[in-house]
C-alpha cells in the first residue's frame, strides 16, 4: 500500500514541477469553450439587438425570455448547439493527447531527472503516444456502448409498454441498480484506461494489445483500486463543496465565474495527478 501512497505523492510532485502543463490544459479548455460559444454569442447579440430583456436573462434564468428568443429568432439555436457538440468532440481528442503528454513526460523525467523541463516536451510526448491512447479511449467507448446497450436490454426486458406494468416501482429500482452498476463499471474502466496507458508508455510497443491485456489483469488488484480511490476522494469532496457553495451563495456573476474556474482547475489537476500517479504506480 505504501507504493500506492508513494505514487500518489509523486503525482502531486509532478504537478508541482510542471505547473505550465496545468496552465496549457486549462487555457486550451477555456479557448475551446470560448470558441464553441462564439456562434451563440453572435446569435444572442442579433436576437436581443438592443432589448433590455438581455439584462434580465443575464441576471437569472427566465423561461419566457429564452422561449421568446427561440420562437422569434429560432434558426440560430440549432447552429449554436451543433457548434457546442463539435467542440466536445474535439476536446475528447485533446484529453487523450494531454494524457499521453503527461504520462510520456513522467517517463521522460524519470529517465533524465536532471534535464531542464521545456513545455514543448509535453507536446512531443503527447504526439508520440496520442494515437495509441486514442485507441484505448475508443475501445473504452465501445465497451461503454455495449454495456449501455446491455443495460437498456435489461431495463426493458419486460417490454416498455406502460400498460403492461403493474407499477413503475420495479422500473425505478431497476434504473437505480443500473446507474450504480454503470458507476462501478466506469470506475474499473478508468482504472483499466490508466493502467493500459501506463503500460503503453512504459513498454512503448506499437501494438497495444499486450498492454491492454496486462491492464485488464491489473484492474482488480487492491492497490490499483486504492490508487484510483485516493485520487477520487479529494475530487468528490471538492465537487460536493462546489455544488454546496453554488447553491448557498447568491453571488454576482464574476464571483461565480471565478469559483467555477477554480473548480475546473482542480478537476484538471485531478486528471494530471491521476495520470502521473498511475504511471509511477505501474512502472
Amino acid at each position: 500500500m505504501s507504493k500506492v501512497i508513494e505514487s500518489y505523492k509523486k503525482g502531486w510532485q509532478f504537478l508541482w514541477n510542471h505547473k505550465s502543463v496545468l496552465c496549457v490544459i486549462y487555457i486550451i479548455n477555456l479557448l475551446l469553450a470560448y470558441l464553441s460559444v462564439g456562434p451563440l454569442k453572435n446569435y444572442l447579440e442579433s436576437a436581443f439587438g438592443s432589448s433590455t430583456l438581455a439584462k434580465k436573462l443575464a441576471d437569472k434564468f427566465d423561461y419566457t425570455i429564452i422561449m421568446d428568443v427561440i420562437n422569434n429568432y429560432g434558426v440560430g439555436v440549432g447552429v449554436s448547439l451543433s457548434s457546442l457538440f463539435t467542440f466536445i468532440f474535439i476536446y475528447v481528442f485533446w484529453s487523450s493527447f494531454t494524457g499521453a503528454g503527461v504520462m510520456g513526460l513522467v517517463k521522460k523525467r524519470k529517465q533524465n531527472p536532471d534535464d531542464n523541463f521545456k513545455l514543448v516536451q509535453f507536446f512531443i510526448e503527447g504526439a508520440i503516444y496520442f494515437f495509441r491512447f486514442l485507441r484505448v479511449s475508443i475501445y473504452l467507448l465501445f465497451t461503454y456502448a455495449v454495456v449501455l446497450f446491455l443495460m437498456f436490454k435489461f431495463f426493458s426486458k419486460d417490454g416498455l409498454s406502460v400498460f403492461e406494468f403493474e407499477s413503475e416501482v420495479f422500473l425505478i429500482n431497476r434504473f437505480w441498480i443500473l446507474i450504480i452498476l454503470f458507476i462501478i463499471i466506469a470506475f474499473f474502466g478508468s482504472i483499466f484506461r490508466d493502467i493500459a496507458r501506463s503500460f503503453i508508455v512504459i513498454e512503448d510497443q506499437p501494438n497495444i494489445l499486450k498492454s491492454n491485456i496486462k491492464a485488464l489483469k491489473s484492474i482488480v488488484i487492491v492497490e490499483s483500486i486504492a490508487l484510483s480511490l485516493i485520487n477520487l476522494i479529494p475530487l468528490v469532496i471538492i465537487s460536493a463543496l462546489y455544488y454546496l457553495l453554488r447553491n448557498v451563495l447568491n453571488e454576482p456573476f464574476i464571483v461565480a465565474f471565478i469559483i467555477s474556474q477554480i473548480f475546473l482547475l482542480f478537476r484538471i489537476i485531478y486528471r494530471i495527478v491521476r495520470c502521473a500517479s498511475f504511471l509511477e504506480f505501474t512502472d
Partner: protein, 648 residues
C-alpha cells in the same frame, strides 16, 4: 347487510333544473369485461315544444370498430391499441327493451344517426322515436336495458388488468335546446357524435347509481356513497349525485383511500399504495385551489370531491374531469420540482366550475371549457407555487405555468389553423390544444391586463354566478363583459369589448408590438425668417437640448391599446398611450435629458404579444448582458468537456 358510509344526502334544494335524471342498476362482470344495466331515465321537456324524439349518446360505440368517426379522426393513438385485436379490446354499447311510461316498447324505433358527418358506420348517436310525445314542460319516465362491452385502454375509459374506469360510458340523453337558448333559433336537439376531441354537453340531473362489483373491489364515483350492500361474493355500491351533468366511476381491488376536508366537502384521494406519499402534495394543492375558487367565483356546493390517481397501467384515464370526481396522473418517482400532479388536480378541479357547474358545450365552444380552465390554472398555480416555478423547478431549470403555456402556444406551428370559435372536430389538422387551451388563456390574461385584475375577477364571478347550472354560449360570456366594462370603464371602453372578442375569438391573427427606434437629436437654433421678414439671422430661443423621438411599431394584425414608457438618462420616466391602431406611432419630446430606454407595454399586460424581446429597447449596448449569458454557458461547456474526458 346494509351499512352506510357517510351521511345519506339530506334532501337539498335543487341547484339546477334537473332535466335528465337517471336510476341505474349496473352489474360489472370483470371476467367478460361487460356491463349490464337497467336504467330509468326521468326526463323533463324544458321547452314549450312537444317532443316526439329523444337522442342519446352511445359513447362506447366509438370503440366498436375502426370505422367510427372517433377512430377516423385519429382520436385513438396507435400506442393505446397495439394489442386491440389480440385482446379484443373493442367495445360496444347496445340498448334494448326501451319503453316509455305507458309501457310502449320503442325498441323497434331505435336508429343510429350521424348529425355531424354522415358517417354511416358511426353509431354514437341513437335516436328514439316516441310513441307518446313529451308535452311542454312535462316529465316522462323511460326504462331500458343496456349492455356494454368495456373497451381496453381507450382514451379516457376502459379497463386494463384489474383497473376499471367508466367515463363517457352510459347511454346519455342529449340536450334539447329551446328556441333562444345558446344559438337555437327554434327548439332543437343538440347531440353530437363522439369526436376525438371534446366531450361535454349534457343536462343537469340527479343520479342514483348502484354498482354490483366483486366484493374485493373498491369503487370511487361521482356523487356521494350512500351505502354498500354485501351479497355473497359481490358488493353493491350505491352512489347518489345531485345537480350534475354526468356520472363517472372507477373500481379496482387496489385502491387505498386518504381523506381530508375543505369546508363542507369531503375530499378523497384514491390511489395505489406505492403512490401514497403523493397525498402530501395533493391535499394542500387541492385545498388551496378550492379556497381560491371559493373566494374568486363561488362555493363548490357538492359534499364530495374524489381525486383518482390511476396506476401506470391505467394512465389512459389520467388528467380528466368529471362531476365531483377528477383524475390526476403521476409517477411515484416524480420529484417535487416536477409539478404535474399539482397541475392536473388544479386543472381538473377548475372544470368543476367551467363545464360542470357552468355547463358550456365543450364540442362546440371548447375555449369556454378548456380555455377558461387553463386561464385559472395559471392564476392558481402561479399564486400557489410561484410564477416562475409552478410547472418545473428542477436543477436550476425553472418554469411557471403561465409562461409554459404561453411558450407552448407560440412554439406550435398549428396555432393559426383555426379560430377559437371552431368546433372541436374542425381542428382536423391539429391546433386543438394550442388554440382551445393556450390561446384562450393568453387572451384572457391579456383581458385581465387591460381591465385590471379586480374588474376581471368581478366579471368572471358575475359570469359564474349568472350562468352556474345553466348552458351559456360565448354570446352570454361576451355580454357579461360588455356590460361590465361599459359600467366600470365607460371612458376607456364606451362601446364594450366587441372589438377585442372579434379579434381573439373569431380570428387567427397575432399580436406583436415593438419599439422600433430611439433617437436623440441635438436641438438647433431656428433658422430662416422666424420672427419678422426683416431679419433672417438666427434668433436666440429657449431651447431644450434634444429633440428626441421614439417610434413604436405594430408588426402583428391584432390591435390592442398600448401603454408606452420612455425613460430618460436620469432614470425618470414619461408614460403615453397609443390606441394601437396605426402601423406605427411616434412619441417626440424636446428634452434636456436623452431618452435611454423605451418600452411598449411596460407592465407586461399584453401576454398575447408574440415577441416580448422587442417590446424593450435601450440605446445603451446590451453586449455586457449577452457576455454574461454566454459566460454562464461557457463555464457549463468547460465542465461538460472536462466531465467527458474524465470518462474516456
Amino acid at each position: 347487510m346494509v351499512f352506510c358510509l357517510g351521511t345519506i344526502q339530506a334532501q337539498q334544494p335543487a341547484l339546477s333544473n334537473r332535466v335528465a335524471n337517471y336510476n341505474m342498476d349496473i352489474n360489472l362482470d370483470t371476467e367478460t369485461k361487460k356491463l349490464n344495466c337497467s336504467t330509468i331515465l326521468t326526463w323533463t321537456n324544458p321547452s314549450a315544444d312537444t317532443i316526439s324524439e329523444l337522442y342519446f349518446h352511445l359513447y362506447y360505440n366509438a370503440f366498436k370498430n375502426a370505422n367510427s368517426t372517433f377512430f377516423k379522426e385519429r382520436g385513438v393513438p396507435d400506442w393505446l391499441t397495439s394489442d386491440i385485436d389480440e385482446t379484443c379490446g373493442w367495445a360496444y354499447s347496445h340498448v334494448s327493451n326501451f319503453k316509455d311510461d305507458a309501457e310502449n316498447d320503442l325498441s323497434a324505433s331505435l336508429e343510429y344517426v350521424q348529425p355531424d358527418d354522415n358517417n354511416p358506420d358511426d353509431q354514437t348517436v341513437l335516436k328514439v322515436t316516441l310513441a307518446k310525445p313529451v308535452m311542454p314542460y312535462q316529465t316522462q319516465k323511460f326504462t331500458f336495458d343496456w349492455e356494454a362491452k368495456i373497451p381496453k385502454t381507450m382514451p379516457r375509459t376502459g379497463y386494463n388488468k384489474d383497473f376499471f374506469f367508466f367515463a363517457q360510458w352510459f347511454p346519455k340523453v342529449g340536450v334539447y335546446e329551446p328556441a333562444g337558448m345558446r344559438f337555437a333559433e327554434e327548439g332543437q336537439w343538440n347531440c353530437h357524435q363522439y369526436h376525438s376531441s371534446g366531450e361535454y354537453y349534457s343536462d343537469f340531473g340527479n343520479y342514483e347509481v348502484k354498482m354490483n362489483v366483486p366484493s374485493n373491489f373498491i369503487v370511487a364515483s361521482s356523487g356521494v356513497n350512500v351505502g354498500i350492500e354485501k351479497k355473497g361474493e359481490r358488493k353493491i355500491w350505491h352512489f347518489s349525485g345531485h345537480d350534475i351533468i354526468d356520472f363517472t366511476w372507477t373500481c379496482s381491488p387496489h385502491y387505498i383511500i386518504n381523506e381530508d376536508n375543505y369546508k363542507q366537502t369531503n375530499i378523497r384521494l384514491y390511489t395505489y399504495s406505492y403512490k401514497d406519499h403523493l397525498k402530501e402534495r395533493y391535499f394542500p394543492t387541492i385545498k388551496f385551489c378550492m379556497q381560491f375558487l371559493d373566494e374568486h367565483l363561488g362555493t363548490y356546493p357538492y359534499k364530495t370531491l374524489s381525486i383518482v390517481d390511476p396506476p401506470i397501467h391505467g394512465m389512459f384515464t389520467g388528467g380528466m374531469e368529471y362531476p365531483t370526481i377528477i383524475t390526476s396522473l403521476s409517477f411515484c418517482f416524480f420529484p417535487e420540482g416536477i409539478k404535474t400532479p399539482e397541475t392536473l388536480v388544479v386543472h381538473e378541479f377548475i372544470h368543476q366550475y367551467f363545464m360542470q357547474m357552468v355547463a358550456t358545450h365543450e364540442v362546440e365552444e371548447t375555449w369556454m371549457d378548456e380555455g377558461i380552465t387553463t386561464y385559472y390554472e395559471g392564476r392558481i398555480l402561479d399564486a400557489y407555487m410561484g410564477e416562475h416555478t409552478s410547472t418545473i423547478d428542477v436543477l436550476g431549470f425553472k418554469c411557471g405555468n403561465k409562461e409554459f403555456n404561453r411558450a407552448e402556444y407560440f412554439s406550435s406551428d398549428s396555432r393559426k389553423l383555426a379560430p377559437n370559435s371552431a368546433k372541436s372536430w374542425h381542428y382536423k389538422h391539429g391546433g386543438y390544444g394550442d388554440i382551445a387551451y393556450n390561446k384562450t388563456a393568453l387572451w384572457l390574461q391579456t383581458l385581465e391586463g387591460l381591465l385590471g385584475v379586480e374588474l376581471m375577477d368581478a366579471l368572471m364571478k358575475k359570469y359564474f354566478q349568472t350562468w352556474k347550472f345553466k348552458h351559456p354560449s360565448r354570446n352570454d360570456f361576451i355580454a357579461i363583459f360588455n356590460e361590465g366594462v361599459k359600467e366600470a370603464l365607460p371612458e376607456k371602453y364606451p362601446n364594450g369589448l366587441d372589438w377585442f372578442f372579434q379579434q381573439v375569438l373569431f380570428g387567427t391573427n397575432e399580436c406583436d408590438y415593438k419599439v422600433k427606434s430611439i433617437t436623440n437629436t441635438e436641438s438647433e437654433a431656428p433658422r430662416g425668417f422666424i420672427n419678422n421678414l426683416d431679419d433672417c439671422s438666427a434668433v436666440a430661443a429657449t431651447l431644450k437640448k434634444y429633440n428626441s423621438q421614439v417610434i413604436f411599431q405594430r408588426d402583428g394584425e391584432i390591435t390592442v391599446p398600448q401603454n408606452l414608457q420612455i425613460i430618460f438618462e436620469d432614470g425618470s420616466s414619461q408614460f403615453f398611450s397609443w390606441d394601437g391602431q396605426e402601423r406605427s406611432f411616434d412619441v417626440s419630446v424636446a428634452t434636456d435629458l436623452k431618452i435611454v430606454e423605451a418600452r411598449v407595454d411596460p407592465e407586461g399586460i399584453i401576454m398575447m404579444d408574440r415577441n416580448l424581446i422587442n417590446n424593450y429597447m435601450t440605446v445603451q449596448p446590451v453586449s455586457g448582458s449577452v457576455r454574461k449569458i454566454v459566460g454562464k454557458v461557457l463555464t457549463k461547456m468547460q465542465h461538460l468537456m472536462e466531465s467527458i474526458s474524465l470518462l474516456i
